[in-house]
């Protein structure tokens, strides 16, 4: 790899969406038709360069681009640079690839929306933010793009801002992920305070050389993980993700399949050198991951909204990735991230086509759609099989890689992960049987159903082919692209018994749900009146609890602001009086804006400072 290409190639990946964003902003609504094509083209260019970068780093090298922006504050430098390592190269391809397909799909899906130009503008912004995040070299740069990802997803989830539900979901996502963002910010400050440098590489170096105390390293790792928990919807900050389904379906595909949620996994993988030095932090990551995997899968069992099922499934799969990271296998995590991006995006796009066709999200009113939409049904079945982990689809390889990575030191986690396979098969089977097979439950909707237009089908074909073949040539132990995964670190090869076990469990789950849906056997969760069902339906009451807590906090804050107001203008005044006079007499009702009070408060501050000084000062 020559340096010449390295100096610009990373920027060539990142900048096209910026150009398209600026272009769409400048042209505005004048170019409704062309907006989708501009955005798609820009993303395609990014994708092509991303592939070029992937081949460039397949040997394990790293591309270091010239920084575009260099601020220096004395000795501290903030460089907006762009590095592409094997890890980030994979991520670039995944992000640009899925983003491109979603762009194309959206041209069809959003065709009738009057604000289509704005939609693509947001989409470009989002793609830009994700790509920028992946190539970041500096804590500030990372944080900026991290926030930008959050802001863009806020805009996209709330795209349909006339609907209260969309607004609420957008705000929920914003607030919840912000809790995580504070973690990243604190990590940045901690790293800067410890190393007096903002370059991420310097932090890694300090961590690896043992210059930082073990507690600091663990703190740093956990703060970063907090950010990842927020973004990747891990327990207990998973609540925003299902609600985010209020956004347009292609956005769900983009955010919940390939990119935003994967950002958390990527962040942990990217900062893995820090985690590697802290076994306790790794254990936390693995535990949260495993718990989230099984926990989210149970909630997916009873959802009736097709997108919500997929959303909980995403949370569950992200738990797998975190588990792999915690177990020390970056390669397995990123491998699963990649295959998951493909099959989950496909699931969403297919679900979008279904929703498009029948005009509802509710799986209980669908049924028998396989006849009406054979292509969509076929791809949905294949993607679901990949999600369950049936051979020889992509998910089979990656899931087994994740499971294999936990075998050495995490037996309990392994058990949970295996059980999750059964649950996954059960809820996916339920969706399959309810939506595509059996009788049509709503004749009117069924009659109107039709196959999606070509522009929406084409991305599904591409993703479908990837799901079919990706496992074969991206598995770390095979194929050219697989080698890049291999460069991320050793990926354990699943033994045969494990493959057999997961396949058997998957088939068992599918069969069980088939019988359930047909009513052949009594369903443990078939009865809405049972406590277990209620518990899952209400999502373990966690959302309810948060809403109470947040609502209470908001009310509290409102009262706080009011109290501060009273305190500062009138109250401070009375406070002075009360502090000085011990008397039951109430101060007179105050008119506003009294000059002499202004001066009294100011001089009170002077006196306080002087008295504190007089009391504390010795030897002057």
């Amino acid at each position: 790899m020559t340096n010449a290409i390295a100096s610009w190639l990373p920027w060539a990946v990142v900048l096209p969406p910026l150009v398209s964003f600026l272009l769409l902003t400048a042209l505005g609504s004048k170019i409704r038709k062309a907006a989708g094509w501009i955005g798609s083209l820009a993303t395609l260019i990014s994708l092509i360069f991303a592939f070029r970068a992937l081949t460039a780093v397949s040997g394990g090298a790293t591309l270091v681009a010239d920084p575009l922006l260099l601020l220096s504050y004395g000795d501290v430098e903030v460089a907006f640079g762009a590095d592409v390592s094997p890890l980030s190269a994979i991520m670039l391809v995944v992000v640009a690839g899925v983003s491109f397909l979603v762009h194309v799909y959206s041209i069809g899906y959003m065709a009738k929306d009057p604000r289509i130009a704005v939609y693509f503008q947001y989409l470009s912004l989002f793609t830009l933010a994700m790509l920028g995040l992946v190539v970041s070299t500096n804590w500030v740069e990372l944080y900026v793009f991290w926030e930008l990802v959050g802001a863009a997803s806020f805009l996209l989830i709330g795209f349909d801002y006339m609907r209260p539900a969309a607004r609420a979901a957008a705000f929920k996502a914003f607030i919840v992920t912000r809790i995580g963002d504070i973690g990243l910010f604190a990590a940045m400050i901690l790293a800067f305070a410890q190393t007096k440098s903002l370059a991420i590489a310097d932090t890694f170096q300090a961590v690896q050389s043992g210059a930082l105390a073990p507690n600091v390293v663990t703190g740093l790792a956990l703060l970063i993980f907090l950010a990842a928990v927020g973004k990747s919807g891990q327990f207990p900050l998973h609540v925003w993700l299902p609600d985010a389904m209020e956004g347009p379906t292609p956005v769900s595909a983009l955010i919940h399949a390939a990119t935003m949620v994967a950002a958390g996994v990527y962040l942990v993988a990217f900062t893995y050198p820090i985690f590697a030095q802290s076994p306790s932090a790794q254990f936390v990551v693995a535990t949260i991951g495993a718990f989230t995997a099984i926990f989210a899968a149970t909630m997916a069992l009873v959802q009736t909204d097709i997108k919500r099922v997929l959303a909980y499934s995403t949370v569950s799969q992200l738990g797998y990735m975190m588990l792999a990271l915690g177990a020390g296998s970056v390669g397995a995590a990123i491998f699963h991230l990649t295959t998951h991006a493909f099959f989950k995006a496909l699931l969403f796009l297919a679900a979008g086509a279904v929703i498009h066709a029948v005009g509802t999200n509710d799986i209980t009113v669908m049924g028998g759609l396989a006849k009406k939409m054979p292509v969509t049904a076929a791809w949905f079945v294949i993607a679901a099989a990949a999600l369950v982990g049936l051979p020889p689809l992509a998910g089979f390889f990656s899931k087994d890689a994740v499971l294999a990575s936990t075998v050495p030191g995490y037996p309990a986690h392994f058990t949970a992960a295996v059980l999750t396979v059964l649950l996954t098969a059960a809820y996916m089977g339920r969706v399959l049987w309810l939506v595509f097979f059996g009788e049509a439950r709503d004749a009117g909707r069924h009659a109107a159903a039709h196959e999606a237009p070509l522009v929406m089908r084409a991305p599904m074909h591409v993703l479908g082919v990837l799901v079919l073949v990706a496992g074969a040539f991206t598995a770390p132990w095979t194929g050219p692209i697989g080698r890049v995964f291999g460069a991320l670190g050793e990926v354990a090869h699943a033994p045969l018994w494990m493959a057999g076990l997961t396949t058997a469990l998957g088939l068992l789950g599918l069969g069980f749900s088939f019988l359930c849906v047909r009513g052949a056997i009594p369903c443990p969760l078939g009865d809405p009146t049972r406590a277990a069902y209620r518990l899952l339906e209400e999502r373990y009451y966690i959302d309810w609890f948060y809403e109470r807590a947040v609502g209470g906090a908001a009310a509290l804050f409102g009262r706080f602001a009011e109290a501060v107001d009273r305190l500062v203008i009138d109250g401070l005044w009375r406070g002075i009086a009360d502090a000085l006079i011990v008397s039951g007499e109430r101060a007179d009702a105050a008119g506003g804006g009294q000059i002499q009070r202004y001066n009294a408060v100011a001089l009170f501050a002077l006196v306080v400072m002087l008295v504190v000084f007089a009391l504390s000062m010795k030897g002057v």
Partner: protein, 237 residues
Amino acid sequence: MSGGTLAFFILAAFGLGGVTTMLTARRVIHMVLALSLSFLAIAGLYVLLGADFLGVVQIIVYTGAITILAVFGIMLTPHGGLETEPKSAPRQGRRMPLVAFLLAAGLFAVLFWAVAGTRFARSPFASDEPVDAAAIGGLLLSSRYLLPFEVISVVLLVALIGAIVLAKDDASDTAGSVQAEEHAGTSPAEPPTVRADNAEAHRADRTAASARDTGESGQHVEKEAQLVGAVREANRE
């Protein structure tokens, strides 16, 4: 007790007595007179400190110009016919005097702590000779203090313009014919011009600060003469 110390205590007593009278008086005009007594006592202290020139300036500016200005200010802004005020402003709340007292007491306590706790050492350059006014003039003309001296003249110019702009009654320019006639004698543009010229001229005057202020209060007299007439009845009450 030396004569100087005795004189100090007498003057200080007058100074503080004036302020205390101001703080306890009911009629606003009494307050002003009490304060002018304090200003006078302070002038005496200046003389006692060998600052004769400063003492003279103090008398001219404070007991002269500012007190008169204040009296005019009070006469021009009559309120309810009787220029008295209650112990404290009702809208401030009854606690204001107590709080202000405690603030003042706290501040004084700290200042006392700082002053009384300091072991002052007399500088070998110190002398008890009075300072010659010419020396002050010399210092003002020295290269270092020439600039501040120029700046203070600008400050006074701005104050002059500002006072005119704010105090001028624009309504009378266009309102009644009587007032219009009163103005007819001097073109509307003229008074400010004259003043600006005055200010320019004064800049040459090295002992100017005080003189300018007397000049200004004089302008106020002219300017607001008609208003004074209008409010005279109110003051008689």
